[in-house]
């Protein structure tokens, strides 16, 4: 699906680029998977964006919200990242139906390299802040269930679940702060597999890309589409791993560079 990489001037510019990409990228429009913008409000220090993704067949209604805020005095520049189950035009950003717990993406107000992958079901954004790599997931998993059995497998993930103002980009320790709407319709924190496994590449220096499976004590929910665990052995962030001609971008877990701390993002 659609993919873009580039450099955003700051966190506000990045949100603008995200918005332009998911609502207007030609390949998304051609496939009927462009996201619909339900709200876009820019203030002096905030931006508010609410989107509705159509799914792959154009029949889903996947609601997501992004809100950028800054406290320049504390050098805090963050996005708030939310999943919803519906949209009320009269309600404010945190008053929408089926609101997920708040998640944040810690950024700065300087230029950042970013990689953005999206289709009609979900968007994944990787951002390089200084030498740290941040990751955001917004949208549906590929669940191990039919749409009838698991109609709203939303997984929202940022780098932080602290209140705005809690963490500067340099204090973030992991990209794995996510929650999903489980089978009972409750936002819950799943575990993932693999997590921190420290295997090498296979003979011939071939790197297996392992699916990231989300589970908890009640269910194995499914996989994150387009994001894989990859060995950090002899590997480094921004390396490209090619599988069947498709590039996968290697990313470290914020600042951690142990063998088990890497993921690969499919750039397609």
């Amino acid at each position: 699906m659609a993919y873009e990489s580039g450099i955003a001037a700051d966190h506000r510019d990045l949100l603008g680029r995200f918005r332009a990409f998911v609502t207007g990228h030609p390949s998304l429009i051609a496939a009927g998977q462009a996201w619909q913008e339900l709200r876009w409000v820019q203030q002096a220090s905030t931006q508010e964006l609410i989107l509705k993704a159509p799914g792959l067949a154009g029949t889903d209604a996947i609601y997501a919200g992004l809100f950028s805020q800054e406290t320049a005095a504390s050098d805090l520049y963050q996005w708030q990242v939310l999943g919803y189950t519906g949209y009320l035009s009269g309600a404010n950003f945190t008053g929408q139906p089926g609101l997920s717990p708040a998640h944040y993406l810690s950024l700065w107000n300087s230029p950042m390299s970013y990689w953005l992958v999206a289709n009609g079901r979900r968007a994944i954004l990787a951002v390089k802040v200084s030498s740290r790599y941040m990751l955001m997931h917004l949208g549906f998993l590929t669940p191990y269930a039919t749409p009838g059995q698991f109609p709203y497998p939303f997984f929202v993930s940022g780098t932080d679940n602290y209140y705005f103002g809690g963490r500067r980009w340099s204090e973030v320790s992991t990209i794995w702060n996510g929650q999903m709407r489980n089978l009972a319709g409750v936002w819950a924190t799943p575990s993932r597999y693999p997590a921190g496994q420290t295997y090498k590449h296979s003979p011939g220096a071939i790197y297996p890309l392992t699916s990231l499976v989300l589970y908890d004590a009640t269910a194995i929910y499914g996989e994150i589409d387009g994001l894989f665990h990859v060995s950090g052995f002899g590997n480094a962030s921004e390396n490209l791993v090619t599988v069947d001609g498709v590039n996968h971008l290697v990313l470290q877990d914020v600042a951690s560079t142990g063998i088990g701390n890497y993921v690969a993002l499919r750039l397609q």
């Binding site: 001037a9 067949a57 154009g58 390299s113 990859v230 490209l240």
Partner: protein, 560 residues
């Protein structure tokens, strides 16, 4: 080699731990690094360094996971439908899910054996399914068509994928010819018990069937069109399952039912064979009837699974119905060329367990039979002994009494005149489980005559001498008595011994006192109690009308 182009006025840039480069650069190029840009977008502080880090091209391989089994195919849910026994048109939703992440097009639906089965609910092919989209189709089966439903559908898609759907079931025809009540209806309940008898006559009884088999036998007297329809059914459907009204459990509609109704009121459902998941038959005559499935039952109110296809006027008879097959030969006699008289036995396919409810009074771990047999015919008892006879035909005959006590067979006839008692008798029979569970049976006679009043502390009975002390002095058989007292009380006691007082009187010792004083005038009857079991596993109800049942129980004594 690296190519560095400088720009003035910028701070020092730390590329990585071991590289320190003056940041007053506009473009940085390093050998082996594909794309390196240092650019100045919005002034001197916005210098960035994408791609400055070494970037390597590695080879990877995708894993295999459950994702590959679950996605990238077409799911048909459910892929197999079994409609079971079809008595009315049925339908079921089938979800077809495109588990490919990209759109595919349904190009064709191939069907085989779809006789009376249809797949509908969506536009005909070609039909586009978006990525991960699902559509609900409807499979419907009508009652018209071949006896056995066996439809197979293959859904073919533009990317070469295909998925299959199988529909199975059996069509059921109503055998709606009413019996001729002149001959009554015989209902037969057949349990199965393995009885292992030992040398001394004691026995072990093993229950082999948890639910009895059930059958009905009756006579059909038909004329004209009824004969023709019956013979057509016997030709086409003779070995198959019929839906047969349970003719003994009749209700009459008090108010008309219109087509589309899904609720019916019957009378006395508690004593009839209605049950959730079962059938109900509406019957106006031999050729006009309908069977519907019962979804649920609350008191006398039945809720149907499907609405009725036609209306029924007040006065229509309503019966519970059962799936049944014709058991053995159907014998049809033709008195004239337009009349037929058939005797059929119908073996029920779906016997439902009736709750086993026993009588209220118990004695020494077994229940006591409460109903008293009638005397329409003589009550006959048979004494049998287990004898080993040694007879060579030339000398005296040697006889050995193996068990030392007789086995007494009794034949009891009962008549039940209301539905509640019939149902209670049925529940009591279920508690007997054929030959498996014994019970106490009073002889129903005045076996000993009490000669003196019984005091509360007496642990004996003074009775007229019947030779008990003489012949049964240390009793192992015939040692339990039921003492019936005016007012309805019955005392069950065991005789532990006997003493002759005089030529006319003897004392029977009891295992405990009665605890009440009973004047002589109030003692109605003292009968011996026998522990008995049914002689046969199969028991018959002879229905004279739908409210009167005759039943014959043959029982035999067993050791405790």
């Amino acid at each position: 080699m690296a190519t560095l182009i400088g720009v003035t006025g910028l701070a020092v840039l730390h590329l990585a731990g071991h590289h320190t480069v003056s940041a007053n650069l506009q473009t940085v190029g390093l050998a082996g690094v594909p794309s390196i840009v240092g650019l100045d977008r919005a002034g001197i502080r916005s210098f960035t360094w994408p791609g400055v880090l070494p970037r390597a091209g590695l080879t990877g391989a995708a894993d295999r996971s459950f994702r590959d089994d679950w996605y990238h195919r077409i799911h048909v849910l459910p892929a197999a439908i079994d409609f079971g026994n079809l008595v009315s048109p049925v339908s079921q939703a089938v979800e077809v899910w495109n588990a490919f992440l990209s759109p595919v097009s349904l190009t064709a639906i191939e069907e085989t054996g779809a006789d009376g089965v249809s797949l509908s609910g969506q536009s005909p092919p070609p039909l586009v399914y978006g990525g991960l989209a699902s559509r609900v189709h409807t499979v419907a089966a009508s009652t018209l068509g071949s006896p056995v439903l066996s439809a197979h559908y293959v859904l073919r898609f533009s990317n070469g994928a295909s998925s299959a759907l199988t529909v199975t079931g059996r069509r059921v025809v109503v055998l709606g010819f009413a019996p001729n009540w002149a001959g009554g209806i015989t209902e037969r309940l057949a349990w199965l018990t393995d009885v292992l008898e030992s040398y001394d006559g004691s026995e072990q009884r093993i229950r082999l069937r948890s639910v009895p088999r059930r059958s009905f036998e009756f006579q059909l007297d038909l004329a004209g069109q009824g004969v023709r329809v019956l013979e057509t059914l016997l030709h086409a459907w003779g070995a198959r399952v019929f839906a047969v009204p349970v003719w003994t459990d009749r209700t009459v509609l008090t108010a008309p039912l219109s087509a589309g109704a899904a609720a019916v009121r019957v009378s006395d459902a508690a004593h009839a064979d209605y049950h959730a998941g079962g059938l109900v038959a509406f019957w106006s005559d031999n050729l006009h009837h309908e069977v519907a499935e019962i979804l649920s039952l609350a008191g006398n109110a039945l809720t149907l699974k499907q609405p009725l296809s036609r209306g029924w006027p007040a006065g229509t008879r309503v019966f519970p119905a059962r799936f049944a097959r014709i058991d053995g030969d159907a014998v049809v006699a033709h008195p004239t060329d337009a009349l037929a008289s058939a005797r059929v036995r119908l073996e029920i396919e779906d016997p439902s367990p009736v709750p086993a409810i026993d009588g209220p009074s118990a004695y020494r771990g077994y229940r006591v039979l409460e109903w008293r047999p009638n005397r329409i015919e003589d009550r006959t008892d048979t004494w049998r002994r287990k004898l080993a006879v040694l007879d060579y035909g030339t000398g005296p005959v040697n006889i050995d009494d193996l068990s030392g006590h007789p086995v007494v067979g009794k034949r009891l006839r009962f008549t039940f005149g209301n539905r509640a008692t019939i149902q209670a008798f049925r529940a009591w029979l279920h508690a007997r489980q054929g030959r498996a569970v014994p019970f106490w049976l009073s002889s129903g006679q005045s076996d000993v005559e009490v000669t003196r009043p019984i005091h509360a502390a007496d642990q004996h009975l003074a009775v007229k001498n019947i030779g008990y002390a003489r012949y049964l002095a240390s009793p192992t058989i015939r040692r339990d008595v039921a003492i019936r007292v005016a007012g309805g009380a019955v005392h069950h006691r065991r005789i532990t011994g006997a003493t002759e007082i005089s030529e006319d009187e003897e004392l029977l010792m009891l295992d405990s006192t009665l605890g009440v004083t009973i004047p002589l005038a109030r003692v109605l009857q003292v009968s011996f109690l026998d522990l008995v079991r049914l002689e046969a596993d199969a028991q018959e109800f002879f229905w004279e009308t739908d409210g009167i049942v005759q039943a014959v129980l043959e029982v035999r004594t067993v050791q405790e």
